[in-house]
Symmetry: C2
Subunit: 155 residues, 2 copies
């Protein structure tokens, strides 16, 4: 889909770096790391909504959820995970071209430390605040990508 | 699970009225109808997280999503849907007993009218506001339940 930013993504994209893939799904790290390990899980194919997923895509998604929760729990100590498929932004256009993607947001009962930085989850037990935004310093960001990729490979 | 409010639910519950079911899932109308047709989709079994769903539960979930989106689109004119599985509240306890449930929130580009009441979706194209709360007057609530049940039966 020519105008779809998710279709345009390539592994060379450094804002949404590649973490893992299956035949149907691509897992990327999200730019907002106020809750470390926040990921995006999107379909390789341009699928406009959840009903549009085919059997294979739906079945693989469960494996991705399992794998990703296990890896982020092991590498970052997340206690639980918030999953959502909202697709809202595409509907700001008069001709929406939504592309299925999930937000996977790890939640932390205890603060987590990465590269000397301490991350708190002040709303643990409640929905996270969409407006809390934090980009990581270059080195912490690169170390985090490697940490998660290693956990995914080991799992 | 004796202390789990979702396990304790029965069809006699009028706060979360029954809409539809499959062998693995139960669909209920949510008390907060600020966005009409907001539903909860929960597992019949006490499953603590998404990785814990078995193959049958996972496969059926896709059918529930399809069925429910189609029925709410047809009966209420929703344009698209926000799906989330957060499970946050259970983690306010020191011994969390989460039970998998999805929030299905219909989103409306145009206002919708029910029983003479007009409902707007001021944040269409963005995450909905968790703090916007609206209970329906008894008759509107009962008519809405019937409307959705009829759409689900017809689909």
């Amino acid at each position: 889909m020519p105008d779809c930013p998710i279709c345009q993504w390539t592994p060379a994209n450094t804002e949404y770096p590649f973490l893992w893939e299956t035949p149907a799904w691509i897992v990327k790290l999200a730019p907002n790391q106020s809750l470390p390990g926040r990921c995006i899980v999107s379909t390789r194919r341009h699928v406009p909504d959840l009903p549009g997923l085919n059997i294979q895509e739906w079945a693989e998604l469960h494996g991705v959820i399992r794998k990703l929760e296990s890896a982020i729990r092991a590498s970052l100590g997340a206690e639980m995970f918030n999953w959502s498929c909202y697709l809202n932004h595409a509907y700001r256009e008069t001709r929406p071209e939504p592309h299925v993607h999930w937000w996977m947001v790890p939640r932390y009962r205890e603060p987590v430390t990465l590269g000397g930085l301490r991350f708190e989850d002040p709303y643990f037990g409640s929905p996270y605040d969409h407006d809390r935004w934090q980009r990581l310093p270059e080195q912490v960001w690169e170390d985090l990508i490697l940490l998660i990729q290693t956990a995914l490979a080991a799992d």
